[in-house]
């Protein structure tokens, strides 16, 4: 850690006779003296509002605690054994894994497919800009939009079922508890694709074009070009994108809450995610709150994100390629 600013010697600001080196040294000292005043507001707020509450959540995860008005009491790993015995949590955990892995693989496959095509396509910039837009729309608005176009209601179908019926296919109950997770996965892939396409394309654009020209001369198919040029040269960016995806997917909440349920209270447990579990057991309106359990589930979220990010970084690690 840096030397405390109070111990540094007084700066000879007022002496014009000071020689160059000591003036420069004094300047450096004065510069370093700015460190804490500049950093303190940010780090203070960060520690107070993020670090301390997160640590508190971890501690409270090991307590039995109903909520405001109740005193937390230490009960060891009791919450966690209870979590893994409850259907609601198991559904939440499983669905979260589905969102991370299935939707993640889907998004990345789609993004790769697009980079293969977009690299040599006219209008690629426009396509990218259009596909990126859902990323800056509130998930809660996206969820409502999808829930309206996927309504199943004979004679007044939502847009998707309207189209299905107009081509002679039976309407589907998209938002029923057993289907909704897959619908959300589809929405998620659609909404996030633009972001990952942009990240990957930025990396692809930095690959020197002569490598592709070489590949063309050698008669490479698009797949070979992708496998032997694009993939190895964007590997590091893919790794970072994978971490971003994991961090984003683990906290999915609004989209599921709105798409799967009536919006005023939690949807059926079959559709829950970890984020939704925490919300339902603390601030959700259905049932009495169980803050201790909610904290334990939140601890599982931190554990899951840490394990996955570390594993991903390990998995993606390799020597850097210079190009």
């Amino acid at each position: 850690m840096a030397a405390s600013p109070q111990t540094s010697r007084p700066a000879p600001v007022t002496s014009p006779e000071a020689d160059v080196t000591s003036a420069a040294g004094a300047h450096l000292v004065r510069k370093k003296r700015l460190f804490w005043p500049f950093l303190l507001p940010a780090i203070g707020l960060y520690v107070l509002f993020m670090v301390v509450p997160t640590v508190a959540t971890v501690v409270l995860g090991f307590t039995s605690w109903q909520g405001a008005g109740d005193t937390p009491e230490f009960n060891g790993v009791g919450n966690f054994t209870e979590l893994f015995a409850s259907d609601a949590f198991l559904y939440s955990f499983l669905n979260t894994l589905l969102y991370i892995f299935v939707a993640g693989v889907g998004t990345f496959l789609l993004a790769f497919l697009f980079t293969m095509v977009l690299r040599e396509m006219r209008g690629g910039k426009l396509v990218r800009a259009i596909l990126f837009f859902p990323n800056i729309v509130a998930p809660v608005a996206l969820g409502m939009f999808f829930s309206i176009i996927m309504i199943y209601r004979p004679n007044r179908q939502g847009l998707v079922n309207y189209l299905l019926e107009s081509i002679g296919v039976d309407a589907v109950k998209f938002l029923a508890p057993e289907n909704v997770t897959w619908v959300v996965i589809g929405c998620l892939i659609w909404a996030s694709a633009g972001f990952y396409i942009t990240i990957l394309m930025a990396a692809v654009d930095r690959i020197p074009p002569y490598l592709y020209e070489d590949a063309d001369i050698a008669g490479a198919t698009p797949w070979q070009k992708f496998r032997n040029v694009t993939l190895p040269l964007t590997w590091d960016v893919i790794g970072v994108a994978g971490v971003l995806w994991t961090i984003g997917a683990i906290k999915i909440f609004e989209l599921v809450f709105v798409l799967a349920g009536p919006g005023t209270y939690s949807p059926p447990i079959e559709s829950w995610t970890l984020g939704l579990y925490v919300f339902d057991r603390s601030f959700g309106t259905a049932g009495s709150p169980e803050y201790g359990m909610a904290c334990a589930a939140a601890v599982m979220m931190i554990a899951l994100v840490s394990v996955l990010v570390v594993a991903l970084r390990r998995l993606m690690r390799r020597e850097t390629i210079q190009f």
Binding site: R30, V117, P134, V137, V278
Partner: protein, 309 residues
């Protein structure tokens, strides 16, 4: 066009081949492989789908529920014939409290974004340009904050804020928004400050400017692009923020737009007030669309910056 022997250090596998007899076909001639055609068709279809969705959203905001469901692609007409084309928007604005929420959101988002950048910029500067040992671990300490899901801190935070009487309170919401946006903003701005040249800072020091003054008159203006990007990205993020608003704001008078939309959803789908609901969605989405059309490049590069490095 360059020689095929280049870039030997890459892992690109290439068979040794004799130079092709025929010259490479002209760029216009290639690209008719069936795979490419299928790929391009798919890309354009996917893109067209997004445009159709936007069209549907904007037109549906002016339709009656019957039109929304039975004539999804028609232009709206019922409310126009009745001489009240903005009926849905008025419903959302007046009956569902979006008018008030709009003002609250604009004020809250504007003030919070400015304060976030004002707090994060000196911190990012201190972490990158003061040459203090321990800056790197400290930067990583901030970056970890980007990976913390808000659900994991919201319970103790809520209890603490409730003790201070700062729940259901816009000042409390402002504090939470500022603090929770810092990791991303500090991380984003360290990238910008790192990329600035040393020379101007040194020149200012030689001219006798104090480090404090150097920061304000030399470095901040240089990092202006980064600061504006940070401002815009935070404004977008907070405009769309829902989870924290649901937890911390309970009174209609304090609702932000996303929060008001969340509440409207239950009531509107119960009463089949789909026109009003879509108008509400449009009120949340369209300002983002306008911002996006004006600033797409800055938004895209800003949001994807971290990954490219």
């Amino acid at each position: 066009m360059s020689a095929p022997e280049s870039a030997p250090e890459t892992r690109v596998r290439r068979e040794h081949r004799t130079p092709p007899r025929k010259p490479r076909p002209a760029p216009t001639a290639r690209g008719f492989s069936p795979l490419r055609i299928v790929g391009m068709a798919f890309v354009w279809l996917f893109t067209a789908l997004n445009v159709v969705i936007l069209y549907w959203l904007v037109t549906a905001a002016f339709k009656t529920p019957i039109e929304i469901f039975n004539k999804p692609f028609h232009l709206p007409y019922t409310w126009f014939e009745r001489g009240d084309p903005f009926r849905n928007l008025r419903y959302a604005w007046e009956n569902a409290g979006f008018g008030n929420a709009f003002l609250v959101t604009v004020a809250l988002v504007a003030v919070s974004s400015v304060v976030i950048v004002a707090v994060a910029a000196p911190a990012a500067y201190a972490l990158t340009r003061l040459g203090v040992r321990g800056s790197n671990p400290m930067t990583n300490f901030f970056a970890i904050g980007m990976g913390i899901p808000f659900q994991t801190l919201v319970i103790p935070l809520f209890i603490g804020m409730a003790d201070l009487g700062l729940t259901n309170n816009l000042f409390g919401m402002f504090l939470v928004y500022v603090a929770l946006s810092l990791p991303f903003t500090v991380f984003l701005l360290t990238g910008f400050f790192k990329s600035l040249p040393d020379e101007l800072e040194e020149a200012a020091a030689i001219d006798g400017a104090s480090p404090f003054r150097t920061f304000f008159t030399v470095m901040l203006p240089l990092a202006r692009g980064g600061l504006i990007t940070a401002l815009i990205l935070n404004a977008i993020g907070l405009w769309n923020e829902t989870l924290l608003a649901i937890v911390f704001l309970t009174d209609n008078a304090n609702f932000t737009l996303a929060r008001a939309l969340f509440t409207l959803y239950g009531a509107a789908s119960y009463q089949s007030e789909y026109g009003g609901l879509i108008a509400g969605v449009a009120i949340v989405v369209l300002p983002m669309l306008v911002m996006y059309i004006l600033l797409a490049r800055r938004i895209i590069t800003g949001l994807t910056l971290g990954a490219g490095k």
